[in-house]
Symmetry: C2
């Protein structure tokens, strides 16, 4: 591959250009979550570079959790459908250290107009159509999480409360299967807040109890924000677990 006359990235290392082309294929759904991508040798031939160069490109995409390598089998597009990746972005865990088992109860799924704030986060215009979902998640029969979710209507057209109630497993699996939208990364802003009347009722805690407020923006390929969540966690018996490196 020559360094001039490149379709996507115009300069910088060859492997960066390969990365960009693989990313473009992912974004274009040429390879779907769970699928194997072509072998390193095939890609090397396709892009007319050495296997080592393809290897470095794939290594970096795998480090970003976009691809998953499996020795002897191939390289696969990451998916939230998979065992162990089901709740990849959930940092809440019981103080006891056991695994958290959450049961969904969806309360609402409304088609509304975006306000300024949500529009800004989703890179839409105020007034653009969006979907708003409310849910409560329970562990061992006790409500632990109250969550408001906002989605752009365009990408998630047709989503209904019934579809949500039929769901078992994480919403990101649903987004992948039904709306061809794979979440790549997210940003969270965390605060401590007091329970108001509504929150107290949803989470069955006293008014004035301390709750963890977690605002999340989730992004798909190309750094495109496609979901906003505002969760409140009851952290009496569980905590938000974070690793710093």
């Amino acid at each position: 591959m020559s360094l001039i006359s490149e379709p996507i990235a115009s300069f910088s290392p060859l492997y960066e250009q390969i990365k960009a082309m693989i990313l473009a294929s992912l974004q274009a759904s040429e390879w779907l979550p769970g699928d194997a991508i072509p072998s390193e040798m095939e890609l090397a031939a396709r892009y007319a570079v050495s296997q080592g160069t393809v290897r470095k490109a794939i290594d970096e995409l795998a480090a970003q959790n976009l691809l998953v390598r499996r020795q002897g089998k191939g390289t696969f597009v990451a998916t939230h459908q998979e065992e162990g990746w089901q709740y990849r972005f959930l940092r809440l865990e019981p103080d006891s250290g056991e695994k958290l088992q959450l049961k969904n109860q969806f309360l609402a799924c409304e088609y509304i107009k975006s306000d300024e704030y949500i529009a800004h986060l989703l890179k839409l215009k105020a007034g653009d159509p969006i979907i708003r979902i409310d849910r409560v998640q329970s562990s061992a029969g006790r409500p632990i999480v109250f969550e408001e979710i906002w989605l752009p209507e365009g990408r998630f057209k047709g989503l209904t409360l019934n579809a949500l109630n039929a769901l078992s497993g994480p919403m990101y699996a649903l987004y992948e299967g039904e709306y061809a939208t794979h979440m790549v990364r997210a940003e969270e802003k965390i605060k401590a807040v007091l329970a108001n009347d509504d929150l107290a009722q949803y989470l069955q805690v006293p008014v004035g109890a301390a709750l963890l407020s977690v605002e999340r923006v989730a992004f798909t390929y190309g750094n495109k924000p496609v979901e906003i969540r505002h969760a409140r966690y009851d952290t009496a018996d569980q905590h938000y677990d974070n690793k710093l490196n």
Copy 2:
């Protein structure tokens, strides 16, 4: 380098053995934070492997933030002294998005016996001697953070309130400079709590205000826990910022 008769790791890939040996040198303070380590060629000669193998070992250590590569200059041992790495583990930031400027006020530095809980986290025995430090950090004259810190006395012998009050900059820089202890990673458990009388006074908030409780265990080389912190953040005007990948 032969695959048998290895001093440190006994098998697995060559570059893993190189990693282990570089790590051992770091742990033994053969190269100090801020220093350059030998060049790739030198290390390749020393370990009798190719440059590419050393390269892969260094790449992985750099990805873990133990080393820092600088093209044209060399590879350096990571340090908390450096501009931009000063508050590498601090995730608190103003809602406005500006940079947080914190001023220290140390309240106490006592030599005490460890209780069960702290001993367990530090992998000591209950009753072992430890140091306990209290401090308040303020931004623009307003108290934002109250923090209790526990250190094993053995490693930090001689630390005094005066030394702390002379400190400008992060404590991890002090640990590095005075106690040859570099922090490599940390784990935090986050909850929402209510301000009691003491916290209300330290942070100048009403009793019953919501505060973020952050318990941190910090580790040096070899996964050795050497510091416990329990912080309470006032998140009225700032938040804990987290990226999920």
